[in-house]
């Protein structure tokens, strides 16, 4: 199973609410280390904000075995862009090429943000809105479900 950014956020929430100070988790090649207190620069992972700071105000990078896949930044002004299909999500037009968009990219409604492959058939996914990419949640080569949030876009104005 692959951990999504939502899974990680949930894990962080559970740890924060628990009495534990540290969690090391490894699932299918993805490693997460969470440590209560100031982050010490452990490889590719960051801990939750020292309590009692609310989680919403903190930011954390999600590490994966391949590449950083998601930036979990809570932004109430951003809109969710849901997946129109179930399939395997690709962030780039082909392996090794730069991703279609990333955090900070300006998008229009018809900007291609990724490809969803269903049984070898490629489907282009477009932003559907105008704005700036605030978060990108869909991981490269991961299964996305119908309706799953692929990215969040901050609309202009």
């Amino acid at each position: 199973m692959t951990l999504t950014a939502a899974d990680v956020a949930e894990i962080m929430r559970l740890v924060e609410q628990s009495g534990f100070d540290e969690l090391n988790l490894e699932i299918d090649g993805t490693k997460i280390s969470l440590r209560r207190g100031a982050p010490t620069g452990a490889t590719g992972a960051a801990g939750p904000a020292p309590s009692p700071a609310p989680l919403a105000a903190s930011s954390a990078a999600v590490a994966s075995a391949t590449a950083p896949a998601a930036q979990v930044v809570a932004d109430p002004t951003a809109v969710d862009i849901p997946s129109p299909l179930l399939g395997t999500f690709y962030r780039s037009p082909k392996p090794g090429a730069p991703p279609f968009v990333q955090v900070g990219s300006q998008v229009e409604a018809d900007t291609i943000i990724g490809i969803i492959e269903v049984m070898k058939l490629m489907n282009t996914v477009r932003a559907g809105v105008r704005g700036t990419v605030a978060e990108f949640l869909a991981a490269d080569s991961a299964l996305v479900e119908y309706g799953e949030v692929l990215m969040r876009v901050r609309k202009p104005g």
């Binding site: 199973m1 299909l85 179930l86 399939g87 395997t88 049984m119 299964l143 479900e145 119908y146």
Partner: protein, 434 residues
């Protein structure tokens, strides 16, 4: 639910492919994982073969169980599984096609020396009129790609035939993507009796007895029971043997049901069709045989072959099942989608309830209205019917309309209590004043 339940008992991990409308359902919560394959509309979710198979592969599933709706008899799903080394828990794609085409199924029956309803294929109106004279009126115009009571038109005089053919062909083309039709004699007093079979795919087939499903409203089953009451030993044995012969000739793999029409007046029977999947009413067979049919399907699919011999199958007592649907009998049984506010299912010795509905469950407007199956098992038919009536009386459901009260009327009817009635029973009951 049913499949998840057996998988849990067997220690098999489950991934449920659900539409957005079903993500909050009880099965979704019970499955080890649920994956959303599309929006509520079946065409964009449950009927998308590629989405289902992609979801199975991406979740590292070993097999797909198609259940009994939607894609369960689509050869395309079986074929796609075959092409990517995913186990399809069911027959081969070729077998699904052989019995899915109703004309071809008739040919298979004749080749297996199983009697079929007098009838024939038709392409030209003139040929149809000639054939109709031979078959006799009344007759039925049936869709080759239909089945399950759909796509049929009754013709009472030869003059009605040309128009009926045209209408039936147009509707069949739209509904099944296949405009071919054929003619069959209309059997006035027929009992719907079907036989459950299990095949290992290598030529071995056993039967698990018959089910009487004559309680139907517009060809939709309402109550099913086993054994079929009032059948002579000769007839019962002949039905079992015919079903096994039919399936054996195809080297049928997995669970299947061969449906027959028993002509009461002529004391003969005819092959109707074969359903290449597990059926809604399978629990009554499980009750009297003690066999978990889903577990047997999984065993056959995993390469274990047939674990049971014919001599292992023993029928104990009688089982009767009621389907509880979200429909409004006062409004022509119109489906009644909505939200279940409160529900109490019966808890009683000898009663089994198969359901995915709990308090708060939503019944989306897009799918079948079946909410639950209530099954009674007892040493004899009278006690099974009494037990089922008690169970229905203890059932409470609010928030949506249901056919609960109508089912109580069915079970209380003298014709039902006597048993052995034909498929006209419910229509006759509906004509009677309340």
């Amino acid at each position: 639910m049913r499949i998840i339940r057996t998988c849990r008992e067997l220690g098999i991990e489950t991934v449920l492919a659900a539409s957005q409308a079903d993500l909050d359902s009880v099965p979704a919560r019970l499955a080890d994982r649920t994956v959303c394959i599309g929006p509520a509309r079946p065409a964009e979710s449950y009927l998308k073969v590629e989405a289902v198979v992609h979801a199975a592969r991406a979740t590292h599933s070993d097999a797909i169980h198609p259940g009994y709706g939607f894609l369960s008899e689509r050869a395309a799903l079986a074929r796609l599984c075959e092409s990517c080394a995913l186990v399809f828990i069911g027959p081969t794609a070729a077998q699904i096609e052989a019995v899915g085409d109703k004309l071809r199924a008739r040919e298979e029956a004749e080749a297996a020396q199983v009697p079929v309803v007098p009838g024939c294929a038709v392409t030209l109106v003139d040929d149809a009129l000639t054939a109709a004279r031979a078959i006799g009126v009344p007759l039925l115009v049936k869709a080759v790609g239909g089945g399950g009571g759909r796509g049929m038109k009754r013709v009472d005089t030869l003059a009605q035939l040309p128009a009926a053919l045209e209408l039936a062909a147009a509707e069949a083309g739209a509904a099944f993507g296949d405009a071919r039709v054929y003619l069959e004699r209309y059997v006035a007093s027929g009992r719907h009796i079907e036989v459950q079979v299990l095949g290992d795919g290598a030529g071995r087939v056993i039967h698990l007895g018959e089910r009487d499903c004559s309680t139907q409203r517009r060809y939709q089953k309402l109550v099913e029971e086993t054994p079929a009451p009032g059948l002579s030993q000769r007839m019962r044995a002949a039905l079992h043997a015919a079903a096994v012969r039919f399936a054996q000739r195809l080297s049928y793999r997995g669970a299947g049901t061969v449906e027959f029409l028993v002509d009461k007046e002529r004391d003969s029977f005819y092959f109707l069709e074969m359903n290449a999947r597990i059926q809604v009413e399978h629990p009554v067979t499980e009750a009297v045989t003690g066999v978990d049919l889903i577990a047997e399907q999984i065993a056959i699919a995993s390469g274990a072959g047939l674990r049971l011999a014919q001599s292992d199958i023993r029928i104990t007592g009688c089982a009767v099942e009621c389907r509880i649907n979200a429909e409004d009998p006062a409004n022509d049984f119109r489906p009644s989608p909505g939200q279940v506010v409160a529900v109490t299912w019966p808890v009683q010795e000898g009663i089994r309830v198969d359901t995915h509905i709990a308090a708060g469950s939503r019944i989306p407007p897009y799918y079948d209205s079946l909410m639950a199956k209530i099954i009674a098992h007892a040493p004899d038919r009278d006690r099974a019917v009494a037990s089922l009536r008690e169970a229905l009386a203890a059932t409470r459901l609010t928030g949506v309309h249901s056919n609960l009260a109508f089912q109580q009327r069915v079970l209380a009817a003298p014709e039902f209590q006597a048993g052995g009635f034909d498929t006209g029973f419910v229509a006759r009951l509906l004509e009677q004043p309340l």
